[in-house]
């Protein structure tokens, strides 16, 4: 059973397994209050996950809605082989993947304004940033998301989960509904492509020439 719980940036305390089971049962029985509790408990986690995976907040409310509709529909089939938060994270990943695919067909500029308006989690900031540092940070983040945008959606999601979220192959395999060996292969190619883009044109050309020789 996967035990890892995705952190919740909201203020609601994490559920212990017994409470989790009870909440699921109440939701399955169509208890309106349980649905509300479920929503309030996971809404910030869902919005945060989607925002971090996608890097922009366009239509984030529609995506949050989609995640919860899928979750409420799917609770009847939830077998409990992962923590509830992990299961919801999996839904987020799938919804985000769908969004990335749509966006690939209809490109949407990564908004500096989006990243600008999303602050770093306040609890993690030790001192206020200078404007220069803040601009630099935003530009760095934008560069990363631009590089992520160059990857195929499946590679992108695997790379995001591994490099940014720091999850291991087994956890990623659960989230993307694949097996760890496939994830490892996908990750290998994703990392190679991603860091080449990050390293810039000179490095790309140098490595490409070397690969050719």
């Amino acid at each position: 059973m996967l035990q890892r719980v995705k952190r919740d940036s909201g203020t609601v305390a994490a559920l212990d397994p017994a409470d989790e089971v009870e909440l699921i049962e109440r939701c399955r029985a169509d208890d309106r209050r349980a649905h509300d509790e479920f929503y309030h408990r996971f809404r910030r986690q869902v919005a945060g996950n989607l925002f971090r995976v996608l890097g922009d907040r366009t239509d984030i409310d529609d995506l949050v809605q989609e995640v919860f509709v899928i979750a409420f529909r799917g609770l009847q089939r939830f077998r409990g082989d992962a923590r509830l938060s992990t299961w919801i994270y999996r839904i987020c990943v799938n919804v985000a993947l769908g969004r990335i695919r749509t966006r690939k067909r209809r490109p949407n500029a990564i908004g500096v304004a989006d990243l600008d308006s999303a602050s770093i989690d306040p609890s993690l900031e030790e001192r206020p940033e200078t404007p220069d540092r803040s601009l630099e940070r935003r530009q760095d983040q934008e560069r990363v998301y631009r590089a992520l945008d160059t990857l195929a959606p499946k590679k992108r999601i695997v790379l995001y989960l591994h490099e940014i979220e720091g999850l291991d192959l087994k956890e990623i395999a659960y989230l993307v509904d694949s097996n760890p060996v496939t994830v490892r292969t996908r990750l290998f190619y994703a990392r190679r492509e991603f860091y080449r883009v990050i390293a810039g044109d000179d490095a790309q050309q140098a490595v490409a020439e070397e690969d050719a020789s």
């Binding site: 809605q65 990363v144 940014i164 979220e165 810039g200 490595v207």
Partner: protein, 482 residues
């Protein structure tokens, strides 16, 4: 180490996944290779950024609105699942009747039995259940403002097939849905509608708010019901409006006949008549009254639009939405068909379409044309922006007098001389002209004429040669009779 370092190896080194010797070797290479040193720098900065991304706080979302939408979607599905099935009594009756028919056929074969396939005496007699009526599908033909389907703001409204169980809700906007040849309904602003039953046998629409319905004549056995609270409106081919707010129901019929029922009685509303049933009144207690001319005009204007050809598959694949954007609300006509107030999205067939917008006097002026291609999944709809009407200026009368008094009538006469000789008289040219304070002409366009292009060009040249004096700036339209 002479070879360049692959950029992802720097990320491995930064994450501590490489042993010391390999790392030292890479660092040694970077010390002499500017490209690799630069790559190392960039990869490390990206790796530092990962932490910042991991700690990005969740954005603020309209939580209550999202919650309401989620609840709506989920509860709609739940209601659809628990909808009562046909009673067992009917099922038993059907089975009994079918069995009786089969028994009759077997016991008393008709004379034409030889024409049928030979039936084996030992073959089991199976009872075939009656086929379910064919499901109907509705297509959105026109949308203004915000509309939600099943609690979701759909981006692909024009490719969405509306089926039984769908719940539609409008904000300030409205939408038209066609569901058959010459059959459509239009849901008004701040209204909701559930397609409770939507098949060839029966259509049941549960409405809260305003709905305008236009239904082609029903065949025998087809039912069309609008359910408004505890009242039911049944039709057999007509155009009518139902408004149900609170517990008050208003039914207005443009043509045809509708029957309004509740638990206590029934009332018939004929053409150009309406009935208002208050919350505390029964249907049988109320009276039908005639509609005024203005009320009929409102019904005419609210007629939901229908496309002349009804083929769901062909329309989904072959038609496309056209978005008409206006500043403020402007009445719009596309290809000569009045569609109501824009901004709106409307379903059109691929090709070139002329869009006209009404000016403040209610006259339609050409706003432009647009080529609409076949719709592709995910593609943006074709969009035409109607420019705002130029604001009225006070100097119009003065400038108009100047123009009328100063036109070179002799030259104008020369322009139309040849057509006048041919017997064509009483022609005109309508122009749009802009003049500034100094009298300089900003633009001069011939916007309408019944002349040929050569003659119209000649007239335009005559008008363009006219010199205005100083005065107020004005932009106006003038019809020059020739």
């Amino acid at each position: 180490m002479s070879a360049h370092v692959a950029p992802h190896r720097w990320a491995d080194a930064y994450a501590g996944r490489l042993d010391e010797s390999e790392r030292t070797e890479m660092e040694g290479h970077a010390a002499t290779c500017r490209t690799c040193a630069q790559a190392r720098e960039r990869v490390m900065r990206a790796s530092d950024t990962f932490l910042a991304i991991r700690n990005l706080a969740a954005p603020e979302v309209p939580w209550d609105s999202v919650r309401a939408r989620v609840h709506w979607s989920v509860s709609t599905e739940r209601r659809a699942k628990v909808r009562p099935r046909p009673s067992l009594g009917w099922l038993a009756f059907g089975v009994t009747a079918a069995a009786a028919i089969v028994t009759t056929v077997v016991a008393d074969p008709p004379i034409t039995q030889t024409a049928r396939a030979p039936a084996s005496a030992s073959a089991p007699t199976s009872i075939v259940p009656a086929a379910a009526p064919a499901a109907l599908a509705g297509l959105v033909n026109r949308v203004t403002g915000e509309v939600m389907l099943d609690g979701i703001r759909q981006t692909d409204l024009f490719t969405h097939r509306l089926a039984a169980g769908t719940v539609i809700a409008t904000g300030d906007g409205q939408l038209d849905v066609q569901f058959g040849d010459a059959s459509a309904f239009g849901l008004g602003p701040r209204s909701s509608l559930e397609l409770r039953r939507f098949d060839a046998e029966a259509v049941e629409l549960v409405v809260r708010g305003t709905i305008d319905v236009k239904v082609a004549p029903r065949t025998t056995g087809q039912r069309f019901l609008v359910i408004a609270g505890d009242r039911t409106i049944e039709v057999r081919g007509t155009q009518f409006r139902v408004r149900h707010e609170g517990n008050t129901t208003s039914v207005a019929c443009r043509h045809g006949l509708v029957a309004v029922r509740d638990q206590h009685g029934q009332l018939e509303v004929g053409a150009a008549r309406h009935v208002d049933i208050a919350a505390d009144r029964q249907v049988a207690e109320t009276h039908v009254v005639p509609l005024s001319i203005d009320e009929v005009s409102v019904l005419v204007a609210a007629t939901p639009i229908t496309l002349p050809v009804w083929d769901v598959d062909a329309l989904v694949q072959g038609s496309a939405p056209l978005e008409i954007a206006t500043s403020g609300h402007r009445e719009i006509r596309v290809d000569g068909v009045e569609l109501g107030a824009a901004p709106m999205r409307v379903r059109v067939m691929p090709g070139r379409h002329t869009v006209e917008a009404a000016d403040s006097a209610g006259r339609y002026r050409r706003a432009g044309w647009i080529d609409v291609g076949a719709q592709n999944p995910g593609s943006q709809p074709a969009r035409l922006t109607v420019l705002p009407e130029p604001p009225p200026t006070r100097g119009i009368d003065e400038r108009r007098r100047q123009l009328r008094g100063g036109i070179d009538k002799v030259r104008l006469g020369n322009c139309v001389r040849s057509i006048a000789k041919a017997g064509l008289a009483g022609t005109y040219v309508q122009i749009e002209i802009s003049v500034d304070e100094s009298g300089a002409v900003g633009f001069l366009n011939v916007i309408d004429t019944d002349l040929g292009s050569t003659t119209a060009g000649c007239v335009r040249d005559v008008l363009a040669d006219f010199r205005f004096g100083t005065g107020a700036a004005a932009t106006f339209r003038e019809r020059v009779e020739l």
